[in-house]
Structure formats: structure tokens, C-alpha cells
Symmetry: C2
Subunit: 254 residues, 2 copies
């Protein structure tokens, strides 16, 4: 696969910088890369998964906000939900702009993502907080890892959407305070964090197994510059390490 060291003129700020920082060269812009129908199909899958991920995150955060003990807490989670919806809109509009049907692009990911949320419905407010903080971050890490291998336009979009997360930071102080009050809470939430990671991996595997275009993008294929298996291993190591650090920030063993 041909690579291009020079950032093209239409690449904007952050995306290019981050890609360069992680040592990946530009593979060109969307117009160039999407001429390959396999590449196009893979990116539409990725954007569809991301878009429905944001829409379902909106729905679940809004639902979990009901568990909040007070108005400020409720508003904090509602604010995260509203931010996820703005991301959904960006991704939806991008799919429409490249002549894809957003609903069709999202459809394959509805069931796996709904299943993830069904399996990880928080039993109380603290579980909801941990899920908001940890779940959001795992997804964000994953998409950032993938983004640096994409064409400049898609990469900028994905990194831009992901840069705007981090609304969940308010969760840290709340969870730490709850554990301080009752250390047994820490054991329960540590288990919960492991379950979140496990369910996320399990649904991700299911998606990769079912979607050839997407798995080509991740694992590599003839058509697109994917990860080789060593790189996939390293990527999952990085994501797991970041997860461990976040659990520690919450005062939880991972």
C-alpha cells in the first residue's frame, strides 16, 4: 500500500498531528482512498458502528441519569448524553455527505450494541457512573487507535468526535468518595468494571467476526492497510493498560 508522507492540504489540525505523533503516515484523503470500494465499505462500517454507538450511548446515559441521587448529578450525566448526541449528528451527517444511507450503515451494529447495553444495565447510580466513565473511555481509545490508519478526512472526523469526550471526569470524585464511605463498594465496582470490559470485548469480537469489511480494516487485508496480528495484540494491550489506569483512578482494582 502506497503511503504519503506529506499531509495533504485539506487535512486540518489535530488529526494530522496525532497521526504523525503516533508514527503513521497519511494514506491520502477520502476522495483518493474511497475510490477503492473495499476501503469505502470498511469506513462506512466503522462510521455506522460509531454513529449507532453514540446514539445508543445517548439513550443509555439518559436512562441511567434517572438513577442520580440529585439534580446536579442527573444534569452531569444528561450533559454527557447530549454530547454523545452531537457526535451522533456529526457522524450521521458525514455518512449522508458521502452518499451512504446512515440508517443502513448503522443497522448491522444495532443488535451487538443493544446487547452490550442490555448486559451492562447498571443496577444503581454508582454502577452507572463507572459505566459512563469506563465505557466511554474504552470506546474512545479503540476508535483513536483505528483512526490513525484512516484517510485524512475520516481520521480528522473520528479524532474530532473523540476529542470532545471526557465529560465523565466528574465520576471519579464521586466514586472515590463512595468507596471511602464504604470500602465494600470498591469490591463490587471492581467486579463491575471487569464485566464492562469483558462484555465490550465480547461484542467487539462478534462484530469483527460478522463484518468482513470492518475486520479487514482492523486485521488487515489485501485492500486496506490494517493492523497485523502483532499490532492487534499491542493495540489491545494499550487499551487494557489505559483501562487499568482508569480503574485505579477510580480507586478500583481492575
Amino acid at each position: 500500500m502506497e503511503t504519503h508522507g506529506d499531509a495533504p492540504a485539506n487535512a486540518v489540525g489535530q488529526g494530522t498531528g496525532k497521526a504523525a505523533a503516533t508514527g503513521h503516515d497519511s494514506i491520502g484523503d477520502w476522495a483518493r482512498c474511497s475510490a477503492d470500494p473495499h476501503y469505502r465499505a470498511a469506513v462506512l462500517d466503522l462510521l455506522g458502528a460509531l454513529a449507532y454507538g453514540e446514539l445508543s450511548a445517548f439513550e443509555r446515559l439518559a436512562e441511567d441519569a434517572k438513577l442520580a441521587p440529585g439534580l446536579e448529578d442527573k444534569a452531569a450525566l444528561a450533559g454527557m448524553a447530549a454530547a454523545e448526541f452531537q457526535h451522533y449528528r456529526l457522524l450521521h451527517d458525514r455518512l449522508a455527505a458521502v452518499d451512504a444511507d446512515p440508517t443502513e450503515s448503522m443497522r448491522p451494529f444495532v443488535e451487538p450494541l443493544d446487547a452490550f447495553h442490555r448486559m451492562t444495565a447498571p443496577a444503581d447510580w454508582l454502577e452507572g457512573l463507572v459505566k459512563a466513565f469506563v465505557g466511554d473511555a474504552i470506546a474512545s481509545d479503540f476508535y483513536r487507535e483505528v483512526a490513525v490508519r484512516l484517510d485524512d478526512d475520516t481520521r480528522d472526523l473520528v479524532l474530532g468526535v473523540m476529542a470532545d469526550t471526557g465529560h465523565a471526569q466528574f465520576a471519579v470524585a464521586k466514586v472515590r468518595a463512595a468507596i471511602e464511605q464504604d470500602p465494600r463498594v470498591g469490591g463490587r465496582l471492581a467486579l463491575w468494571g471487569r464485566r464492562l470490559m469483558g462484555e465490550a470485548l465480547s461484542q467487539a469480537q462478534r462484530v469483527v467476526a460478522e463484518r468482513d469489511a470492518l475486520s479487514n480494516l482492523l486485521i488487515g487485508g489485501a485492500e486496506v492497510r490494517g493492523f497485523d496480528l502483532v499490532e492487534v495484540g499491542k493495540m489491545f494491550n494499550r487499551i487494557t493498560e489505559a483501562h487499568t489506569k482508569r480503574m485505579a483512578a477510580l480507586g478500583l482494582a481492575s
Copy 2:
């Protein structure tokens, strides 16, 4: 009550224009008006009611989005919810900026607004659409009516927040199509619209009866320039007429 015909220098665009258009002169800016503690208390009540109204609207629209038959419909209602959250944030930040405790300001309105939503939980997607369209508009009409009597800064904030509604327009085509398919739906939804209006009035009366500061602002008192009773009657007529027109736009008798 003293009035000031000249718009003060810090009044921005729209607010002043609308107030002038409806024949109300400026009563001064927030700094001037809020020196009167009764005025200040009334406006904090109003902003608190409005803020919790937006937060609970977010919550209910997000909830009702679950009834959507498809992803695009779900996203349309979720988009309304996200917009309501942005309004909540503006109102919350305004309360904090004038040294009020947003949570305390909202508290008196939690129970009446929750009761409204409890009494008007949609049984299906079409009821949810009618509620989104009609409920949003009744609230918006009411606050616009009140806004023109407020100090310039509060008026600009309230009119600005309300100007950004109208996300519910997508409901019109959907409801009309459903009635065309099955005319009996029209009868049921017409009853539903009347019930929404009835519950809204009933909870509004309860709030006015319980909150002296707010009722002074509406009905008039020694301290603030309220409506006299003739004006209150006219105001409710205007709101009811607008409701009738909106129901007609949906193809429903009101």
C-alpha cells in the same frame, strides 16, 4: 412602576426588538431591576422553573425516543432532547452567574413538572410525537409572553432559549400520515392533545398558587410590573388560540 423607553446599551438584538414589537417598554437591565429583592426572587423562580422544565423535558424526550419505530425517528426525538439540555445549561449557568443556587432554584418545580410528565406519559410513539410538538410549544408560548415584561438581560436569555425550539416540526408530517392511514387515530390523538393542555394548565395553576414571587410576576403586585387580570385572560386566550392552530396543523380537532 417606572419604565424606560430607551433600550440600554447592553441589550442585544432580538430581545429588545421583540419586546418593542409587542409594545412593551424596557424596565431596565438586571442590575437595576434586581436591586428590588421581590423582583429578584420572582426571576429566580422563573428561571428555576424554566431550567427544571428543560431538564425534565430532556429526560422525557429521551425516554419517549425509545418508542420510535426506527432509527431516524429515534434520532429526531433524541435531537430535541439534546437541544433541551443545551437550554438547561444556559439557564443553569445564568442562575449561577447571578449568585443563585441552581438546584435550590429548581427544587420547588420538580414535583409539579414531574407530576405533569407522570400524568402525560405517552402510551405509544404517536402520543409521544404529539406531546413533543404540542407540549414544547405551549411552554414556549407561555415563557415568551412572560419574557417581554422582564428586565432586558433576563428577557434576552429567555427569548434566546425559546427561539431555538421548533425541533418538533418533524412531528407534523408523521402525525398527519398516521391519521390518513387510520382516521380513528385522529380522534384518539385529539383527546390526547386536550389532556396535555389540561394537565399543563392544572400544574401551572398549582405552581402559581404555591409560589408568591412567581404569581406576583404574572398577576402583578406592588413590587413588579405584572399582568392585570384582563391581560392574564388575554394571554391565556392567545396561548389557547396558538394551541388550536397547532392541533389543526396536526390534523386534529382541539
